[in-house]
Structure formats: C-alpha cells, structure tokens
Symmetry: D3
Subunit: 325 residues, 6 copies
Amino acid sequence: MDRVVTFGEIMLRLSPENNLRFVQADKFETAFGGAEANVAVSLANYGVDAAFVTKLPQHEIGQAAVNSLRRLGVDTSGIVRGGDRIGVYYYEKGAGQRSPKVIYDRTHSSIAEARRGDFDWDEIFDGASWFHFSGITPSLSAELADICLEACKTAKKKNMTVFCDLNYRRKLLSGEKFSATVEKLLEYADYIKDLLVDTRFDTDEQCAEAASGAAKRYGLKGVAVTRRFVDTNGEKNLSGMFAYGGKTYFGKKFTVCDVERVGGGDGFCGGLIYALLNKFEPQKAVDLALAASCLKYTIPGDFNSVSLDEVTALAFGGEECEIER
Amino acid sequence: MDRVVTFGEIMLRLSPENNLRFVQADKFETAFGGAEANVAVSLANYGVDAAFVTKLPQHEIGQAAVNSLRRLGVDTSGIVRGGDRIGVYYYEKGAGQRSPKVIYDRTHSSIAEARRGDFDWDEIFDGASWFHFSGITPSLSAELADICLEACKTAKKKNMTVFCDLNYRRKLLSGEKFSATVEKLLEYADYIKDLLVDTRFDTDEQCAEAASGAAKRYGLKGVAVTRRFVDTNGEKNLSGMFAYGGKTYFGKKFTVCDVERVGGGDGFCGGLIYALLNKFEPQKAVDLALAASCLKYTIPGDFNSVSLDEVTALAFGGEECEIER
Amino acid sequence: MDRVVTFGEIMLRLSPENNLRFVQADKFETAFGGAEANVAVSLANYGVDAAFVTKLPQHEIGQAAVNSLRRLGVDTSGIVRGGDRIGVYYYEKGAGQRSPKVIYDRTHSSIAEARRGDFDWDEIFDGASWFHFSGITPSLSAELADICLEACKTAKKKNMTVFCDLNYRRKLLSGEKFSATVEKLLEYADYIKDLLVDTRFDTDEQCAEAASGAAKRYGLKGVAVTRRFVDTNGEKNLSGMFAYGGKTYFGKKFTVCDVERVGGGDGFCGGLIYALLNKFEPQKAVDLALAASCLKYTIPGDFNSVSLDEVTALAFGGEECEIER
Amino acid sequence: MDRVVTFGEIMLRLSPENNLRFVQADKFETAFGGAEANVAVSLANYGVDAAFVTKLPQHEIGQAAVNSLRRLGVDTSGIVRGGDRIGVYYYEKGAGQRSPKVIYDRTHSSIAEARRGDFDWDEIFDGASWFHFSGITPSLSAELADICLEACKTAKKKNMTVFCDLNYRRKLLSGEKFSATVEKLLEYADYIKDLLVDTRFDTDEQCAEAASGAAKRYGLKGVAVTRRFVDTNGEKNLSGMFAYGGKTYFGKKFTVCDVERVGGGDGFCGGLIYALLNKFEPQKAVDLALAASCLKYTIPGDFNSVSLDEVTALAFGGEECEIER
Amino acid sequence: MDRVVTFGEIMLRLSPENNLRFVQADKFETAFGGAEANVAVSLANYGVDAAFVTKLPQHEIGQAAVNSLRRLGVDTSGIVRGGDRIGVYYYEKGAGQRSPKVIYDRTHSSIAEARRGDFDWDEIFDGASWFHFSGITPSLSAELADICLEACKTAKKKNMTVFCDLNYRRKLLSGEKFSATVEKLLEYADYIKDLLVDTRFDTDEQCAEAASGAAKRYGLKGVAVTRRFVDTNGEKNLSGMFAYGGKTYFGKKFTVCDVERVGGGDGFCGGLIYALLNKFEPQKAVDLALAASCLKYTIPGDFNSVSLDEVTALAFGGEECEIER
Amino acid sequence: MDRVVTFGEIMLRLSPENNLRFVQADKFETAFGGAEANVAVSLANYGVDAAFVTKLPQHEIGQAAVNSLRRLGVDTSGIVRGGDRIGVYYYEKGAGQRSPKVIYDRTHSSIAEARRGDFDWDEIFDGASWFHFSGITPSLSAELADICLEACKTAKKKNMTVFCDLNYRRKLLSGEKFSATVEKLLEYADYIKDLLVDTRFDTDEQCAEAASGAAKRYGLKGVAVTRRFVDTNGEKNLSGMFAYGGKTYFGKKFTVCDVERVGGGDGFCGGLIYALLNKFEPQKAVDLALAASCLKYTIPGDFNSVSLDEVTALAFGGEECEIER
C-alpha cells in the first residue's frame, strides 16, 4: 500500500457554539486542524496509510492534538514533541451577510519555532511514496522554508511524488515574499493545487488557462484549481478543474451547504490524492475531489469525516439523500 | 368521543447534536418514537382520546418511553411490560449533499419477541372506534404478523375502522415477503397510506392512479399517498393525494424545511385520521393531513408537537409566519 | 461627543435551545432585551455615549439585566432600582412554516408600575443631546405615558433631538388607544420610525407616501419606515425608506437570514441615529440603517452585537463574506 | 384503590446550571414544582392514583407544567386553565458556605388570582379518599384561603382524610396572619406536618413534645415533624418523628447529600401518606417517610423521582449503594 | 518492548448528565468501555504497546468504539468487524444513599455471537508477551469460553504470561456456572485478580488468606485482591493486597472520590500489569496498582486517562494536590 | 468615594466542563481572569469605584475580556489596546487525589510585551487613592518591572496607598530573580499580602511571626498572610492573619469547598482592601477578607461574584446556609 506523509501545522481551533459571536460566547467548541493534517485525515478515512508530521508541545493540549489524529487512524509516530505552545485559531461562523471571522494566534508555536535538526527526513520518508505539504508551512518561518526544501529534496531522491497545495495566506506573508518562498519548492513538485497569484477568476475557463500555464511554467504533472462563486440565485457553488497531460478536465459542480467553511480545499486535496494513488482517469479524479470537497462543507470541524463510499456515491452516483430504512 | 388505538414498536432514538456525525459525537440526544406511537401523539395533541399499545421492558429506559407518551397525553395503560430490551435506533441528521443515516438495533426487542398471549384485543379495544397500525409491526416477526391479524379481526368484529400505514422498510423484510405478510391484513383495512410496492412516482397523477387502483383492488374506503420531490430550484417539496369515493383529491403542496426528516408520514396519518374522525370533506382532509406533515418537518424528534390550531391555520389560513406581538 | 439617552423596558427573554418547542424544552437560553435597550446597545457598539434608563428590581435577576448592558458599554447609572419584578418574555424560534411564538409575562414589572417621582429628567438628560423611546413605553401604563410626556417636554426644553420608534404592539393596547396615547408625544418628536397605523403596505412606494404624509402632518424632520416582504422565490426581504426634507430615500434591499427575528427594527434605529448624529446624507443614512438591521438577523438574542466596521462594510462595500486569512 | 387529590400552586423553576450564580448564567434549567404537585408525583411514583388540582394559563408554558405532571403519571384532568401567568421562581444552588437563593415571582399567577367558582369540589373529590394541601395555598390570597376552606368542608362531608403540610413561608405572610389563616383549616385536618410556629428545635425530644401538643390541641390523628441539623462533623442530618395515638415514633436518621435542597419535606409527605394509605405501623410509616425524604436530596428538581422499591430498600434494607452487575 | 494483548467486549455506555436519573434525561453522554479495553487503555497511557481484540459491527457506532481506543493509542488492528450490534449499557450515577444503576443490553452483540473461526490466535499473539482477559469474556457465551480456552492454550505455547481478572458478574452467569467455566481457564493463568467466590471479606487479613489459598490451589504466580469498604466516618476506602511468592503485600489505602465508580478494578489491573512488566518489587507493584485505581475514581468514563507520572506521584510521592504555577 | 486602580494581566481561561480531563474535552468553558482584575471585580461588587489597567489586543477576544470586566462594573477606560495576543491559560479542575492542572500560554501577550510609553500613570491615577498590583506583573518582563516601578513612584507622589500581593509564581521567575525584582517595589508599598519567600508554614504562629518580620523589614503598615492546610479529617481549611500596628490578628477559620480553586487569594485581597478603605478594625478586616476568600471557593471562574451583604453575613453573622423563603 502507498504511504503518504503530510507535513505542517496543526492548531487548536476555538469556536463559539451555534451562531454566537465571539463577544457572546462563554464556551468554545474545540477542534484541531490545519491544511496538511486535514489531508492526512481524509486519506486515512479512505483507507490509505497516512502519516502527519509536525512539532507539538509535550503538554496535554499537545497530546489532545495527537489524539485527535490517532482517533481517525492517522499515523502520528513521526510527530516531534517539544517547544512551548500549540498555535490557536479562534473561529466564528458567519451567517447570512455576516462574514465568518478568524483570529490567528499562531506565532511562537512549537512548529513555527522548529529547527532543522528536529526532522530526519530520511527516516520520516522510510516506506513512503507521496509527500504533501501546503504553502502555509514554509510561510511560518524562514527555517521552516528551509526544512520544506530539505524535505522536498529528500522526497525526490527517494522517487516520491510531491504534492503542494499553495494555499496562500495573506495574514502570514505578502504575495511577493510568498512567491519567492514557494517558487523554490515548486521545482520539486509534481502536483499543485491553486496558483501562486491569488487572482479571483470570473470564469472556469480563465481558471483553466491559468492552471495549464502554471503546469507548463513549473514543469508539473498536474495542476488543480477550485473556485467558489455565488450564482444569480444567491447560492454558493463550487467548481474545479484539473490540468493534466496537456488537457483540462472540468469537474461536476456542486451547490455547497453552510454547515462549515473550513477545510473544503483540503477535502479536495484528499480526494485528488486518493484518486491519483489509485490511477483514476483525470476526469474521475477531479469529480471525486470535488465530491469530497462538497461533503466537507456539511461536516463541522476541520476534518473531513466521510467514508470513501459516501464520496464515490456523491461523485458517481445520484445526488439523492433520503434516509435509507 | 372517539377513541383511537395504535399498535406497534416504540424505540429509543439516539442522535448526535447539531450537525455532528456519529464518529464525532460524545453525547446523544434522546427521543422516543415509532410510526404508531407518533400517530397516537398527533391525535392526543389534537384532543382525541388516543391509546398506544406495545410491549416494553420493565426497566427505567422502558419507563422513560412510557413517560414520553404520557407527557403528551397518550393513554399508555394498555402497554404490556416485560421482555429484555427496547429497540434502539441511531440517527444522524443529514446536511446538504450528506444523507441522513439510520442504524437500527431493534431485533430482540420486547415487542419483536412478544407472544400472542401478551395482548387481549377484546379488552384493549373496549370503547375504541379506530385501530391504526403500520406495515412495520407485522414485519417485526411472524408472531407479530399473527398478532396484527388477530387485532384486525377483533377490530372488525367490533365495527371499528382500521387504518394501515404500509410504511415499507427494506431493512426489515424483502418486498415479496412484505407483500405476502401485509396483504392478509389489508382485507380488514378501511384506509391505507402508501402502497405495497415501493415505487417512485414521477408525477402526482401516476401516484393518484396507483392509489385508486389499490383502493379498488383491496376494497378500501380510502387510500392516501404522499410524495417528496425536489423541484428545479433544488427545494424539497411535499405533495399528497387521497383517493376516496372513486375520486382523487390533491392536497396543497408545501416546500418542506430541514429541521427534521423523521415522522413526516406519521404526521400525515395523524392529520388524516383526525379529519376523518371529524367528517371533513376529502379535500379538506388531505389538506389538513399535508399541513400536519409539513409542520412535522419543523420539529425535532419523532413526535409532532403541534396544536390543532397551528395545523388548521396552515392548512386553511395563509402561510405567513410573523411573530405576533 | 453626543450622548443619547433611551428609555423603556428591558425584559428577561427565555428561549428553548435550537429548534425545540416550548413543550419540549428543559432548558431556556437567557437573554435580556427591549426596544430601547437594544438601541442603546447598538449605539454603544458604534462608539456613541449611550445611556439606558428604566426601573428594575433590586434582586440578582435585575442585576443581571444591568450587567448585560454594562458588558456592552451602555451607561446604566440612570437605572432606578426597586419594584417587584422584571418582565419576562418566552420566545420560541420559528422554522419553515412554523411561526415564532412570543408569550409575554410583563405586567406588574417594576417599570410598568413606576411612578413619576422615580425619574428626574432634568438630571437624567444632563449632557445629553438625543432622546430615544418607543411607542411601547407609553403603552405600558397611563403613568408611563405621563412620564414619557414629561421626558419629551424636558428634552425639548434642553434642545435635544427626540426620536420615537412607534413600534405598535397589539397585545398591549388597541390601535385607537395607542394612537391617542402616542399622538400627544409626537408633538415633541423630531424623527419617528414606522407609522401610527399598523398598515401592511404592498409596495415601497405606498410606504414612502405614507411616511411623507406623516412627516407633514406631525411636523417631523424625518420619518423612516421598514418593510419585510416575501419575494416570489420565498425569500424574506428587507426594504426601508426615509422621508426627509421633502424627499424620500430608498435604501439598498437585503435578503434576511433566519438566525434571529427579534431586534431588526431596533437595529435599524441604532444605525439611523448613528448616521444622523454623524451628519450622513439621507441616502447614506438609510443605507447604513438597513445594513445594521440586516446584520441583526444574523445574531442570536435581542442585542445587535456588530461593530461599526461591519455595518459600513455591508452598507457601502460589497456583499462578500469569505473568511479573511 | 385510594385516590389522593392535592391542591396548590405549581411554578416554573429557573436555575443556573451547575454551581453558577444568577449573574453568571446564560442558560436556566427549567423544572416545575410546588409542594402539593410534588406530593402528587411521589404518590404516582408509588403506584397511587394521584391527582393534582390548580389553575394554569392556557399558553404553552402552562401546558408544559401540565405535561411535566402527566409524564410522571399524575392525573391532571382537574387542572383549570385560565388566567394570565404561571408563577416563576428563580433558584440558585448553594455550595459550601454560600447559601442557596430563591427569588419568587409568583404574585398575580393564575392560581393566586383564582376565584371560588373555578373549582367544583364536589366533582373534583368524586372517588377520592384523601385530600392534601399545604399552608402555602391559603397564604397566596384571601380567596384561596376561602377556597381551601370550602375544599376541606367538602372533603369532610365525603369522609375523606385531610392532610395539611403547614409549610410556613415567611415571604408570603407574617406568622400571625399565617396562624389566623391556617387555624381555621386545621379543624378539618386529620394529619399535619410541621407546626404553626416556625420554631427551631434543638433536640428531637423538644420537637416530639411540640408535635404531641399540637395533636392534642387540634384534635389531630397524627402530627409529623422533620428536623434538619448539622452535627459536630459538619454533616447535614435529617431526623423526623411522628406523634400518633398518644405516642411518638422517632424515625431512622440520615445524613443528607447535597445534590438538591428543594422538595425534601414534600418527599416526606409523599412517603408518609403512602404508608398511612397502606396501613403501615407508625414506626414503619415514619421510617418510610424519612427514607423517601432522604432520597429526594439526591435528585435534581422538585419532583421525587424514586420508585417504591428504592424507598423501601433504604427504609428497611441496608444502606449500601454499590452497582449491581 | 513488551506487547500486551487484551480480549473481551467493549460496549457503548449511555449515561444521563450530572446527577439526573434515567427518567429525567433527554441527553445521554456516550463513552465506550469494558474491562479488557480499559486495561489496554491504561497500559497504552503508560507507554506500553497494548492491543485490544474484540468483534464489532461494521457500522459507524462500531467504528466510534474503535476510534475511542485508537485515540488513546491502543492498537486496534486485531479487532474483527462483523455481526449485528455493539452491546450497550445504560449507566446512572448514584448520589448519597441513591445507588448507581446499570441496565445491560449486551446480549446478541457481535462479540457475544462471535465464532471460533473469527480469531486466529497464532497471528494475534505474534510478538506479544502478555495476555489479559477477564471472567466476563467466557461468561458471554459457551463459544466464547471455548475461544478463551484456545487463546490461553496458544498463549502458553508461546510462553506468554496470562493475567485473568475474574470479575464475576451475577447478571451474566450463576456462581456455579461461572466457577465451572473459569476454572478450566485458570490452569493456564499466571496471575489473577479477585477470587472465584464473590465473598465479602470483613478484613484485609481474611482477604489475604483467601488470596494465598487461591494462589496455592491453582498454582498461580500471583493473586491480587481489592476491597472497597466504608469506614466509621462514612468515607469510602480502597484497600488491596497481592499474594506473591508465598507472601502477602498490603498496599497503601486510599479514600476514594465520587466522580466515577466504573473502571476502578480495571485501573488496578492496568497498574499491576505495568508494574509486573517492569519488574517492580511486589510491594511497589501493589502500591502502584492501588494508586492507579484510586485515580480512576476521579475520571469520568470507563477509561483511566492518567499518565504514568501522575500514578507514580500518587503511589510514591505525597498526597498533596495543589495547583502548580 | 475612594477610587482603586489595579494593574496587571488578564488572561483567557479555558477549562473542560465538569470533571473532564484535557484529553477528554471537546468544549472549553471560557472565563477571563488574573490576580489584579479579580481584585478590581471584588471591589466593584462591593460598590467601590475600581479600575483595571492592562494592555489587550484590538481583536474580539480582547474585547470579550474588556466586556467581562465592564459587565461587573469595573472601569476599563484605562485599558490600552494593541499588541498581538491575549495570554491564555488552560485549567483542569482536580478531583479527589487528582491535582488540578494549569498550562500557561502567556508569553508574548500584549501586556507582556507592553512598553513604558503605553501607560501615562499621571493620568491613570487621576482621582485615585489606592493602587494594587501583584508580584506577577513585574515578573512578566523587565520592562513591566520598570513600568511597575514608575507606577509605584507616581502613586506615592500622589499620596496614594500602595497594596502589593506578592503572589510568587515559580513558572515565571526563579525565587532569586523574583526577590530582586519585587524588593525594589516594596519600598513604595504600604500593604502586602504573602511573603517574598514561598515558605510553607506549619502553624499560624510561624506565619504571623514571619509577617511581623516582613512588616518591620520593609516598613509596611500591614502584612497579611493566608494559609491553606488539610486537617486530620482530610478537610481543606483556610486560615489567615494580619500584622498591623505591631500586633497580629488571626481571622476566623473556614473549611473551604471544592467548586473552584482559583482566585481565593485575590478574593482575600478584595475583602481586605475594602475593609481598609472603610476603616475597619484590623480584626474585622481580616475576618472580612477571609470570609470573602472562603466564598470565592464556591464560585466557578476567577471572579468573586459575591455581594458585600453575603460577605459580611458570613464574616460577622452565623454560618447557616438554608434557603430563605
């Protein structure tokens, strides 16, 4: 079986219950999540041997983060323990015209202050065939950018496939610094999701063109891009495309639901990697990835707790959702 | 006043809170419900003298089931106590493209293992004028099919009206076995809801035709059928019709809300029986039944906690729902 | 800085959690609110020096009401303590075709039984430039109508601007009595919201005409009216207009969300008063007021916990509500 | 089977969760209770045919009160519906040296404003053999004192046994007024609990002496008195005695637990009435009553949700409380 | 590192929140547990390689049980999936004189209906050095008794150490049948906890004598017995002893707290096995086991979520429990 | 009226509900607190004009901290807004032999990184007569030690009384560094609580001697010391003494309850400052302070939500805590 290693930050997420605002809450629901951890969870749910690597403090809150991953079958044996804190993000759900809010408190976390010596990539990648990370990881510190580079180089030496979800975060780095940081890594990537420039595309076609361009420019096997847009009826829609082998494949569109806004992109990556590991045709791959992403919007928290059956039923079966009894 | 007796299984329902999945929950909301109990509750809410008959274990969880019915005014004096367990069903709400899930754990329940001697129908039906049960009850065991038959015969001997909600459950019996089981009982029925064959009708007209056919074939006074369908805007709609006296009456359609998916059909039966008890015209009867069913979708749990005023306001008044103050 | 004083009743609100009905609940969420308190909270949120005046019992529930206002920065130093009880209202959220329900238990509250000597308006209005109250306050008792009159007279003597939100409540007074009571006060008003007669207008134009008429008849500087209506797609919409200086200004329309139905009108008043205090053009004033009102529908409870930034972004920016990260 | 009718007020109780204070809470747990309703619940739990009579508003909160009683098997068919409000009491649990707090908001309730014509005692007492009320009921209004008198007279005419739990409440009436009010009723009583004068007795013997005195003075069959006291180890203890047939019987003492402080006295009455109905020896009667009271301290809410088995096991069996498995 | 395999049933536990009774609850807290699973969790917490073997249904509730173990680091790869249901037990906490209640609904569970072919002990025990099971497992069915025998024989063939916690459950088997069933297995055991006969010992000395006797009779290396007793101040105490090498070692006594009553014995076993694996002196072994057991009483749920540091601090350090800051 | 200014850190506290451990929780209760904020809240509760000064980030979690203080009547107008984060502490309640746990995540908070220019003490102290801070504040950073020094000097220039609660925190500074830091400030203090050296005293007398010594050494008006100790029955007790005017006053002892362990010392300071402001005799001052501290143990969260009436009743009245009704 293929083994996928993902690397990044996992944070404690604190959210008011229901539709309460931060200033109204006297309880926070807790969850753990982060782009790469989310992908590892998706893959483990689909039966893939998935490992997540990070650095977390020794204390019980760090342990709870580890437990949240073990619970869903992710291999956590490569997680380094040490440092002072786990990053926190406060998350307030939106409603109607009220936007969701994120307050990050992630600086000085154990992973943000990790050092190169913390990770022995040769050992970590032992037996692994894929490496996944997102653009967030090298954005956390210059040292982490170096660590990612080392990981990418080791992965390529071992003939692993490298998947990078660019995932640009304005609050971490300026666009320029981000490009400079990530471009060095793209050289080692096989697949990417999203584009370096955080452009809003008006149509799927523009999107596809940019994706093909990126594939060519960086010599990538595949480039996937997703797009959320509001249609004339006010519904939120999700579309996606996958540029592969010189062609572009457009996935089946979905209207997304409003239970959760976090983790949709990671759900897409999880589905796409699963499809690629299992040699799906590009069209089927992007369909599966979009179905997985769409289901993520229905599940509270960062992790995409869906089974492979549920994803394939949505991707390739009908869209009904009656109770079976 | 008319007295209605309903007979069947009441289960403990365990559901994760809010939109959580089974694997995320660490609390289950509890409720009790079952097709026939739900109908008894509806009728009691409308002021009808309604009794529910079943078999439940002596222990406190069995008592809690009894209490849930007493609380809403259902006569529980005919409930037999004994046996080992109350059936359980685990229920996970759906959201967006994610389907609701039901896991049944109902075999070996006190009612499924009940014996003929447990119920003295002559005494149970003393003073009663209507008998309601659903196709689920005889599907639970061969002995229960016999018990239902005995109940039907006794009811007819006492000139009671018999209403059977076919309510086919694939997880209990194959279609063939179900037909064989229930057809014997239909001979005693005056009214049924739904049809033996679990066909998906594309139009209300097809539905109506099948209903009229069934009325004729089984010599029934009335046959009611409801249909849920998704319209072109993606909204879920509820329609229904009532074949009676050689004519078919189509009820007012409703777009249904997403608070709860369970108990809509039982809500319909409750409304229809109330209307028939009170000699409503067939058109008004089906309108009332559909309004009751529509309101059920707005109320968490199995029981239709609405008042007669609320149902008639929706059925025959406007559709506004402002706060009155 | 301008100082705004609002005067009225604040009640304890008790609501079942989620979508539960009163008869299902075994917990009530608590909140405090009332038309004028809600306006004071909005203004305090926007940075205005806002005070709320009422009478509340000495006991801890009365204190909790005071605390709910202090928490959000409202000056409560003018609240008189005494009397026997705080008014209560039970509130059940609606869903789909099920209407929300309000059960008032507000008679004999400390404020409803307040006496003229309880309030020294000269002192209360010291340093204040605006006075806001609603038609509810004089509807609570004849004595309160007199107290409002005294307050209005004092306000005018001090050259304050008087804003009255008519807010007719059928459950408190008949339409005739209400008109008789409030007309005496309108003589002192500069601005009103809504109209004496509780007419349902079919179009915004009818609304505007009536507003202009009222402005002329009572010699008012401005008259604002809002209107909720259901469009052909079944969506609930909010529109509003402001008659000022002989012209009528129509605000940007919003589709409103279903988190909360209470306090939308008060949110509008809060936004409008803020705009007028800050010399916004009439068009911008009504736009801001409608955006504030629209956001209120997204926030549980009576109080409009939004910041000025959020309101102006919605009023004058785009309508996007993505997570910024 | 004997039928017991109890008459009094049932209130909505609102309590902060866990150990929170009123000013910290943003949720209140709801329960319903009142001295006489609590006794009816105890008796229904023990299998006695028990009815509770009161007046409650038509609205859903009134209905929820009715349902809370039906749920536990109390006959509510004699409850009159009408009037404006249900009495409310806010209850804050104590902890350590922090006293529990009760804030009553019970004036103007439907029962407090009930009129003589509301209750037809002849009909209410049809088939009943015992009447129970407490000194709280005649304390609520002069009219209620008259209604109680009428009830007592009717009861005696019908040869019913009358039980009055004096239950003096300082917050309702002065001691003098209370004595004047209740003494008129004692003439019709067979049994009372507690004494007119709210004396703190230092020893059980003083208690017993006073009880015997009262029995003689008012010509009563039996007088029961309970006493809570703190022993030298700081534990709260419950003792009780029963003066009957010229002798005094001291019950088995219990150390009481701290889950709930409300309803202990009513639990005692429920146990005592059950014992007397079933012709227990006086010693066994007081033992059973004390065991029932002791168990009430372990159960949240006003109602004593214990079975007869549990009470008799504690009264006459050992005191172990291991899990049986 | 040593690897310990435990084998038995894991059930879904459903408990009312706080001190509520079954008939009051409308939510159940969920947990998973069972004697052998609890021991595996303890060992995993202490850093031991621990695996739990059982049979669970394929559905999501079965999966949630698996996840609960993975979360805490237990190896679940040997769990067989299939069968119809997971056993359920309803658990009501006691308080004061009110006993805790357990209602079992465990018959027909996947494990109770497991067949010999389901478990390949040769493979399961690959790399393992210890085998732990309790007397509950062979009590579930005759087939399971055979399966245990097969497991024991395989374990001995592989030179593994076998630990059996007798754990007699009256509700499963009569004492005689239990003895007959378990005695066959004792032949393969090295260590046992508790005794075949469910005697209540009045003193630790009687206990020790019986333990030594059992060690001799069955040729065991060690026999541990724990005893809960109430002292003269009403406090619940925990004592324990360990007969080993012809001597008896009495552990340090603890007063136990009242947070949780379930899992104390399993906590003891977890501590004892850890100590034996790590070659602790017998005295230290029983001290550690008792400290682990004592801490279990402080932790809600079946699983003993304590760290080795915490257990050793209590066993061998002081008893203070101030906040360190 | 006297005005008291307190200065320090306020943190977000996150705690699992009930008795759950960190690794079990999926919700955290939120509260805000810190030694000096807690004192300000106590004083505001007693009717004193109390202000709290700190630095908090602009975002909504910072605002929620401000609101928590405003709600209880503390003047927050001197709070500086800016910096990146609010300190967090994770708090797990203990139970029985299981110790409470605190995990601090307070480095890099806005206040820990505050600069001298952030606070204009001349303006802050305008109209104030007392200054309170604890040894925690200067322990947070060297700059904060300087800021405290500046505050102390300004306070003395303005003839204010300075109260310092030493409050040594091992996790922040070594004992030596702490002494060096705080000794410089003691020169300006009038009153202190606790001693520089974190000695455990065995008897109250040793305590008193040390307190008198410190008073002499640093030329203080008064020195208060509290002591928690476990008596022979295992109960936790609180004693305290106050060295003043050459004499030592021992307060009334209390057995403390187990609802909450945080904030007891701050509750003492609040009571003592209130007593000193109001010229209580030293004996009465220490009695009041101890009663306030004792009540804090009964109230969840950091803040001492008690009224002056409750504290004086406990200090100078009896110890009863029956429900008054």
